[in-house]
């Protein structure tokens, strides 16, 4: 009664006020979006402008780096290196990560796994480099691509695990019940019904983790170390795009600095392509 009375009392003046408030908050939202989006767009634009000339230089994709001071050269070594390091890392991390995710979602139900993956997610990425260094480099006595892959795999693990777990938790309980009510053992229901139903989310998580790993520099510094020679042996030091950016940005040669920008642009494009691929996959698997 009282509430209705107040509303009726001010009924005439209310619409104007309401419209003004609506406009104000609308504008506030647009402003917030711009504040978040503009820095990203400026950064992207900057990388594109600075990186494009280097990217279009002949030999950028196909030549190994030339010695400092020698004009030309490319990042072929680093492209091969990034791909190989990330692929090996993913081969290690995706099966283990998704299996742990499946376990936590379907069987685990305990806090320990959650806490461990949260801690791993929050760890600074250089810590993963130290891990790769102490566990692999120190025991084998030399830098190697495989040590970088292992460091990146540990870094990817919590991302994949979390993505798998949350994708599985979205699968309706009624599907599990349907399978179990047919007399299917739990493991078959998990593998044949629940996991396929969540595959979109699991694959997306894996691709996003790969994208993140491809852009990491710190874990590679004292594991893959960098290598100007084009080579594919995972037990030898290897170049990587992020290492090219890091090293070439610090030298006083224009062609190398251009290469650093171009390598950064290439990395951005690689990560963006992976993200888009992941989204497309989700959209397709939802139909």
């Amino acid at each position: 009664m009282a509430v209705y009375g107040i509303g009726a009392d001010r009924g005439m003046s209310r619409p104007m006020v309401r419209i003004l408030i609506d406009r104000f908050f609308g504008a506030l939202i647009v402003l917030s979006v711009m504040m978040a989006a503009i820095p990203v767009l400026v950064l992207l634009l900057f990388v594109v402008i600075k990186g494009l000339p280097g990217l279009l230089t002949p030999g950028f994709f196909t030549d190994p780096p030339f010695p400092q001071g020698v004009p030309g050269g490319g990042v072929f070594n680093a492209i091969i290196g990034t791909l190989e390091i990330v692929v090996i890392g993913s081969l290690l991390a995706v099966p283990i990560g998704s299996l742990i995710g499946i376990f936590l979602s379907e069987y685990g139900r305990n806090q320990t796994g959650d806490v461990i993956s949260d801690v791993l997610t929050g760890l600074p990425s250089i810590a993963f480099g130290i891990f790769g260094y102490t566990v692999v480099v120190l025991t084998t006595h030399h830098f190697s691509a495989i040590s970088a892959s292992i460091a990146l795999a540990v870094l990817m693990l919590p991302v994949i695990l979390r993505a798998t777990e949350s994708a599985l938790l979205l699968v309706p309980q009624s599907l599990r019940e349907a399978g179990l009510a047919l007399g299917a053992p739990r493991w078959r229901v998990t593998l044949e019904i629940v996991v396929p139903a969540a595959l979109g989310g699991i694959v997306t998580g894996a691709l996003l983790a790969m994208a993140r790993a491809a852009g990491e520099t710190a874990p590679l510094l004292f594991t893959a170390f960098g290598n100007d020679i084009v080579q594919t042996n995972p037990f030898q030091p290897m170049g990587a795009l992020s290492l090219t950016v890091f090293r070439n940005a610090l030298v006083p040669y224009n062609n190398l600095q251009d290469q650093a920008w171009a390598a950064a642009l290439l990395l951005v494009m690689l990560v963006a392509a992976t993200n888009i691929l992941a989204r497309l996959y989700v959209r397709r698997s939802q139909h």
Binding site: P172, S174, L175, R176, E177, A178, G179, L180, A181, L182, G183, A184, P185, R188, E192, I193, P196, A197
Partner: protein
Amino acid sequence: MISIRMQTEAAPRAVQDGDAEIKLDARHVNFFYGDFQALHDAALSVRARRITALIGPSGCGKTTFLRIFNRMHDLTPGTRATGEVLLDGHNVLSSDTDVIRLRRQVGMLFQRPNPFPKSIFDNVAYGPHMLGWSKARINQVVEESLKDTGLWDEVKTRLHRSALNLSGGQQQRLCLARALAVEPQVILMDEPASALDPIATLRIEELMQDLKQRYTIVIVTHNMQQAARVSDFTAFMLMNEKRAGEVIEYGPTDDIFNRPKDSRTEDYITGRFG
């Protein structure tokens, strides 16, 4: 075209043969969610190849009772059932019961259609495939199950398309076909038509009449008219003062609806509460 055939009075029901073989016999069943008792001393003798309905107001433990029959309650942590549920003389609640085998014998149809996100064929073939049957046998059982549920003519040209594109009623009949494909003896139905429109509901009810030639059916329903239409036997359940479900009265459907012995049953079926 759907042939609509009202079955309120017409179908001659064998209510008088109360001496039909007992397929599933629940005795002194108590059920607990943690410390809370949800069922108190519930009993039910389900006769073979008849339709038995569980009715009662919300929260009276109908669904809880039903899910004990194929041990679906095992999936909810912290639950415990005591007493006996004898399936052909073997207590399904005993710890040595092979739950996987039990669930193949006692299938289930759920409140909402829950087809797997797979093709129509793969949905029905899932059980037989799991049992390791030959390809020829699987093809045959898929066709038979779809025919038994009246779906075959509607889907035979698109067996390999996603089951999720079917209508709600078709999805529910697909779930029934999927349950039939593993050749169960008993089918538990948990308000199978509550998410369906009246025509789809009628089709399910017609199917039940066909299926009871071969299967024993237990159905939980909110809808008293549905229980009166389809079932041969009806159990009326109610919460007691401690909020635990009890079976108040059980007998031939005709007796429960026309000559209830308990005044609470009479109050419920005449719409005085619930």
